[in-house]
Assembly symmetry: C2
Homo-oligomer: 195 residues x 2
Amino acid sequence: MAATETLTAERILEATEEVLRRYGPAKATVVDVARVLGVSHGSVYRHFRTKAALREAVTHRWLSRTETALAELTSATGRPAPERLHAWFAGLFEAKRHKAGDDPELFATYGVLIDESSGVVEEHVEVLVGQVRAIVEDGVRSGEFTAPEPDATARALFSATAHFHDPAYAEEWRKNTVEAEFDALVGLLLRGLRA
Amino acid sequence: MAATETLTAERILEATEEVLRRYGPAKATVVDVARVLGVSHGSVYRHFRTKAALREAVTHRWLSRTETALAELTSATGRPAPERLHAWFAGLFEAKRHKAGDDPELFATYGVLIDESSGVVEEHVEVLVGQVRAIVEDGVRSGEFTAPEPDATARALFSATAHFHDPAYAEEWRKNTVEAEFDALVGLLLRGLRA
């Protein structure tokens, strides 16, 4: 890649993902990232002050792609809240399943990075729970849901669906009964929310 | 321990747990178990034909203690089904939390053994799901619950409560908000089951 292009944080993060994919999380270094970009490692450090900061930033970027995709479902206030909530959890499951299934090596790599940087994951979970809460609150306002404490309810919903988004269960996502199990669970949760 | 006592499978399993606790899962051997019992390792092999079989049996024994304790709640048909279901999940959570908190080393040891013998865990989950299903079916019969497919519902309930029994979440069980989260989730699930 030509060094004459402006070196942006985004370009560094792209290159970092590429390097992680190529060498794995144990071997990837900032020097590798600089080499891919055709710049000195000092130039990379001007954007990310430590290797840990760079790894956190690339993990954050990976997780936030899902947040952005789901934000659309959150704000589609024209649709009934139960339908949106179902679509939101289906979208989350689909996104995680794609990440795990389409590129298992990169998924495993991010698994390692996630274990290193729990703060990034907690932030990700807070963003997702916030989106669920927004849908629950809309449903309460429209009289479709009963939820005296929308925040606690959003957390309960997120916890209840862990089998369909927590990477710890990624092995189960290939079972041919998994869709039916997802629908049974979300159906039960939506009945519990009904006004 | 005197070799003159009859060498039962139960005595061997007790000694195996003791040896596992003392040496850890990586180092514990059948010879260690025989030594604790004051018998030859051949005598142990007459009860358990391989080291793997012995480890599976001790894991099964550990898991089945929880099953036995919960079976009482399952069969207490005099109590309302929603109350029994709440008590059953609270009992499961309490049992797992005790195992994790009272003796973390033994809990970690069984974690290793469980990874070795997935068949034993699947059987354990089937027994537990069967108990949940029995309570759901009672609730349907008494008109307290609506569940067209009690088996799918029981599996959904078990999956939904993973945060409160799957050892993968053991770290979270010490949080001081965990009881409130458990109640919020089970409350939501019970509302979903309401006839």
